[in-house]
């Protein structure tokens, strides 16, 4: 499989990395001077860590698609390719003879914030705009008071990664069909539609009239005492929904007097905001003295969903991640890979991100 990447944003570059990790041959087309993500931090030894993360296992050619000769070279690359993945605005694509639907023999995937049919001026939306347009920011974090801003999520690129998974899925499925039928496919990924789809069990019930939508920031919330708490050496997350969880937690805390005053079935039948607040006031004073690993291990044995809020440092040294090989080392550099361990065709990092135009000769 040969995939050409004209994408220049995180969503497209990530979609292609997912496919490259499965073993597709990827030729990344970069503008003269290099891809825009090469200029995005944080940097290490003069290189963008973001670029290196997104572009391992790829080859690079430099093409100025505004020039006829370079544009013709892209056509030659496309002639031997199976798929093209792009994430530019539709008007950019049209201006470079890459309009969506104009390459019927290929699997041609275009990722845009709102999908091909949306007003052109909306297609400049960035990840924080997509997270807000799609509803997750409005409801993040849970229980946010009305006077605090909605939050974009974790890091800078959550909506890009979500859209990237969707694009990779559709491209892989369409390439599978193409192997059998020889036919191409034009795929139109909407970053905002991906955000909505991820909320199907919550927003979908409101859409169908089974639950009430509303302007409140808490409309996606579940109620209950689940929340993050400061502990002795970091934070833990507690989710508690059943009598068994409650009994387990009480035992873990040594059955303090305040806890025995709560009805045994309060989580199921008497979970009022007042009671949740009272629980948290007491629990906070206990959990703040507990080290997170020890209390989480004890909680797991007691059947209580109380877990560590892990940092990047915790994950880098995590025994389960190590066992599964989530990080793959290449020349001493640890790459986060994929959450799926595949017994017959495992994901493999075999090449660092390329230097700009490193494969120019090969392409020509």
């Amino acid at each position: 499989m040969v995939i050409i990447e004209t994408a220049e944003r995180v969503c497209g570059e990530y979609a292609v990395r997912l496919l490259a990790d499965f073993g597709a041959e990827v030729i990344k087309v970069e503008r003269p001077g290099g891809a825009p993500t090469r200029a995005m931090g944080p940097f290490h030894e003069g290189q963008s860590t973001l670029f290196r993360y997104l572009n391992s296992n790829k080859k690079s050619v430099l093409l100025d698609l505004d020039r006829a000769d370079d544009r013709a070279l892209l056509d030659r690359l496309l002639a031997r390719a199976d798929a093209l993945i792009d994430d530019h605005r539709p008007d950019w694509a049209a201006a470079h003879s890459l309009a969506h639907g104009s390459l019927p023999d290929l699997v041609h995937c275009a990722i845009t914030p709102f999908g091909q049919a949306a007003p052109s001026h909306w297609q400049i939306a960035r990840p924080i705009n997509v997270m807000n347009a799609g509803g997750w920011a409005w409801h993040t974090p849970s229980e946010t008071p009305a006077d605090k801003p909605p939050l974009q999520g974790a890091g800078r690129f959550m909506s890009d990664y979500e859209a990237g998974i969707e694009a990779a899925l559709c491209v892989a499925a369409s390439l599978f069909a193409r192997r059998r039928t020889g036919k191409g496919q034009a795929i139109d990924i909407s970053e905002v539609a991906v955000q909505l789809s991820r909320a199907d069990a919550v927003l979908g019930r409101m859409l169908a009239g089974d639950a009430d939508p509303g302007p409140e920031r808490t409309r996606y919330d579940m109620g209950g005492p689940g929340a993050a708490f400061a502990c002795a050496d970091g934070h833990v997350y507690l989710l508690m929904t059943t009598r068994a969880h409650w009994r387990g937690l009480c035992a873990l805390m040594g059955d303090p007097d305040w806890a025995t005053a709560f009805p045994d079935d309060w989580l199921e039948y008497h979970c009022t905001p007042d009671r949740v607040a009272e629980f948290r006031d007491h629990f906070r004073l206990w959990i703040v003295h507990q080290p997170k690993d020890a209390v989480s291990d004890a909680a797991q044995r007691a059947g209580v969903p109380l877990v560590q809020v892990n940092t990047a440092a915790d994950i880098a040294n995590h025994r389960q991640y190590a066992y599964r090989g989530y990080f793959q080392s290449l020349d001493g550099i640890a790459y986060p890979t994929a959450p799926y361990r595949m017994s017959a065709s495992p994901v493999r990092i075999h090449a660092h991100a390329p230097a700009p135009g490193a494969h120019q000769g090969e392409a020509a």
Partner: protein, 399 residues
């Protein structure tokens, strides 16, 4: 069942519950696969029970499981298991998200399954994966987000990082699983070989911050929750508008800044020395956020969003559930679809993140009634006649 779409001709059996596993099945069905959900009244997907008494019209279940088929099999009986093995023998993919060890206890370890159907792709979703030192542990989506490193990066300034909304996570896990399955279909097409796919929900959520994990490994600088701040943009955040609304704005360069100042009619901001160039705006982002908020507070978020976008400033209203459902734009862009269930009920549902042509699988059927496709599976696929199926129903094998 004749379907179109890129995965037409692929048959998937799912033994799944709640959200992540069913979401995988839905995405594959939306791509044209024939997805059969194995269910039993004796061991019901709890989503059929939440929010109502009628297991065939449970809101949670109906909001996820569109376009999949339902067959009843009592997996606790030997006879039921014998029929299930016959279904496996006719399938390309088997998915589960049961508790660790449950498939093995039912005699459905990968070795057992591939003995029934060589070349099958079996995918199992577990909190921490199938084995390893913590493989026995179980949990829910907010636990995945905490353990996976995602929640530590979400929080307002100066507060305990509260994490992303409590509902987030399961669907992302399901989508990642669907991708791995299609990759395995390619491998099978090339080699004839099936495989076992062992998916970790916790690691899936780590991939949502993969760049941060990678950067930490190289630089040693621990990433932390930064609210809406962005190292390369300012203003970058959510700003209050009238009536409790908020607007998101992301400015990356001088052109966008100039257009923002002009659209907001904020010439004083444009002349303020601490905001004179991009670097100084990033350096003074807290002051800038406060200054922008003082202006946006008098604006309507929709109107301002449209004006900013027209001026080439990336912006969008922060949409509530009410905004999302009432959005004419989202309806007209096809984000929502109408499906019909076996009772003739028409229901709006959330469509997938894609459109495709020329070979898009239609999305038209609502979530199945329990056992709605018993006749198709036991009859058309396994060759039982009506009397034999009626007997299975009467003896609660198809239950």
């Amino acid at each position: 069942m004749n379907r179109t779409g890129p995965l037409a001709g692929i048959r998937v059996l799912e033994i799944t519950k709640v959200w992540a596993g069913p979401y995988t099945g839905k995405l594959l069905a939306f791509l044209g696969a024939e997805v059969i959900k194995v269910e039993s009244r004796a061991n019901l997907d709890e989503m059929r029970a939440y929010g109502g008494v009628d297991i065939d019209s449970a809101p949670y279940f109906r909001s996820i499981n569109q376009q999949v088929l339902s067959v009843q099999v009592d997996m606790k009986s030997d006879e039921g298991m014998a029929y299930l093995r016959r279904m496996i023998a006719m399938s390309d993919v088997l998915i589960d998200n049961l508790r660790p060890g449950a498939m093995e206890r039912s005699g459905l370890s990968y070795d057992a399954v591939r003995a029934i159907r060589p070349g099958i792709i079996q995918l199992s979703i577990k909190m921490y994966g199938t084995d390893g030192p913590l493989g026995y542990q179980t949990g829910y989506a907010p636990c995945f987000a905490a353990l996976g490193g995602l929640n530590a990066l979400v929080g307002h300034d100066g507060e305990t990082p509260a994490g992303i909304n409590i509902r987030y996570g399961d669907s992302t896990v399901g989508a990642s699983a669907a991708l791995a399955i299609v990759a395995a279909l390619h491998h099978r097409e090339t080699t004839g070989e099936g495989q076992f796919i062992d998916l970790s929900a916790v690691e899936t959520l780590s991939t949502m911050i993969g760049d941060s994990l990678f950067a930490y490994g190289l630089t040693g600088d621990l990433p932390r929750a930064q609210a809406n701040a962005h190292a390369d943009m300012a203003p970058h955040g959510c700003y209050p508008c009238i009536d409790g609304q908020w607007i998101s704005i992301a400015v990356a360069n001088d052109d966008e800044w100039t257009a923002l100042v002009k659209t907001l009619r904020a010439s004083a901001l444009g002349q303020d020395a601490q905001f004179a160039d991009h670097a100084s705006r990033v350096d003074h982002s807290a002051e800038l956020d406060a200054a922008i908020a003082a202006i946006t507070i008098t604006h309507d978020a929709d109107t301002l969003s449209e004006a900013l976008l027209m001026a080439s400033v990336p912006a969008y209203k922060s949409q509530s559930s009410l905004d999302l459902i009432g959005s004419e734009a989202l309806w007209s862009l096809g984000a929502y679809r109408l499906v019909t269930d076996a009772r003739g009920d028409v229901r709006p549902v959330i469509g997938p993140g894609w459109r495709m042509a020329p070979d898009e699988a239609p999305i038209e059927k609502g979530a199945p009634l329990l056992g709605e496709h018993n006749a198709y599976v036991y009859g058309d696929l396994l060759g039982l006649d009506e009397a034999e199926l009626a007997d299975l129903v009467a003896r609660r094998i198809a239950y």
